[in-house]
């Protein structure tokens, strides 16, 4: 098996929690903190840590606003994040094809 695609996998996205966040954000223009947390069944601390890592990598952008006087924090994929996610999916598909070819 050619290890090349596996070695190219983005380690930031590959982690289970961050992969969940990236997948949800890829399917929606933006999601609130609570929507991400509840859908992924994660704790506040855990999801905050993952979101910070994704932000530092430039994959996720945060918007803070107010809705009827209450703070609202929403997250969205950046163009860089969208591209990295697409590349990650391509590599996964290559790995799947390779393993099918070997059978």
């Amino acid at each position: 098996m050619n290890p090349e695609p596996f070695l190219q996998l983005d380690r930031v996205i590959h982690e289970k929690g961050r992969l969940g966040i990236m997948s949800l954000l890829a399917a929606s223009p933006q999601l609130a903190f609570t929507e991400l947390r509840d859908t992924l069944n994660m704790t506040d601390g855990n999801i905050t840590a993952h979101l910070r890592t994704l932000q530092e990598s430039g994959y996720v952008a945060v918007t803070k606003s107010f809705q009827s006087g209450r703070p609202l924090t929403t997250f969205a994929l950046t163009a860089q994040g969208r591209k990295a996610f697409a590349t990650y999916i391509d590599l996964l598909e290559q790995i799947v094809q390779q393993s099918k070819g070997e059978k």
Partner: protein, 211 residues
């Protein structure tokens, strides 16, 4: 590493992406508000003797506008409570799915009640038409929602068809009852069914949250 891990990863991604598109706000408050408005309107219609064809049609159009506003208010309250956007992408998708049959119902109602001197027999067709169209709206929205909304939509469609058959049979036989009785039909379906489904959702959502 296991050979199937990449496929499993892709499956997880697919599932999560689908989940992001699903409307997941609690449906019990919305259903109970809609049902309460429907049941109260039926009582008002009956006791206020709204029985002219035009009065009946316009009254229920107004009730449906109030019910839609009530449903949006219930959704907005939840969004505020959960600190989430009200006009979220799933909310948009659900609204877009609901809209065409609801607009068709409004147009049908206006076509029936606006002409001067519409006979009551013609107006008796409105409840079954509304039930079928409302069922279609729920069924379409059910593609973006969980919790048996599609089945609820089917219930309305089947009931609407059954009512249409009953109206047709009564029309051929001994004529239809006074239009005032149609308020009971509207109250039982748009009020009673919503309240029953809302109560079921309320109990099961509560149990699910407690688990």
């Amino acid at each position: 590493m296991e050979p199937g891990w990449a496929s499993e990863h892709l499956q997880v991604i697919r599932t999560l992406m689908e989940r992001a598109a699903v409307y997941r706000r609690a449906l019990a408050p919305t259903t109970l508000v809609t049902g309460g408005i429907g049941a109260a309107a039926a009582l008002i219609g009956w006791f206020m003797r709204i029985e002219s064809p035009r009065g009946f049609g316009l009254f229920w159009i107004a009730v449906s506008v109030v019910a839609v506003c009530g449903a949006f208010w219930a959704v907005r309250s939840q969004a505020l409570k959960d600190q989430e956007p009200f006009w979220s992408p799933p909310m948009r998708r659900v609204t877009q799915a609901l809209l065409p049959p609801l607009v068709a119902g409004l147009v049908a109602a206006l076509l029936v009640v606006l002409p001067e001197g519409a006979p009551p027999a013609r107006v008796w067709w409105l409840p079954p038409i509304w039930m079928v169209l409302y069922g279609c709206a729920l069924h379409a929205a059910g593609f973006f929602m969980a919790r048996g909304i599609k089945l609820f939509g089917w219930g309305f469609m089947v009931l609407g068809c059954a009512c249409a058959v009953a109206v047709s049979l009564r029309l051929d036989a001994d004529g239809l009852p006074a239009l005032r009785n149609a308020h009971w039909l509207m109250g039982a379906t748009f009020g009673g069914l919503h309240l029953a489904y809302g109560a079921y959702l309320y109990l099961t959502e509560k149990r699910k949250n407690a688990a």
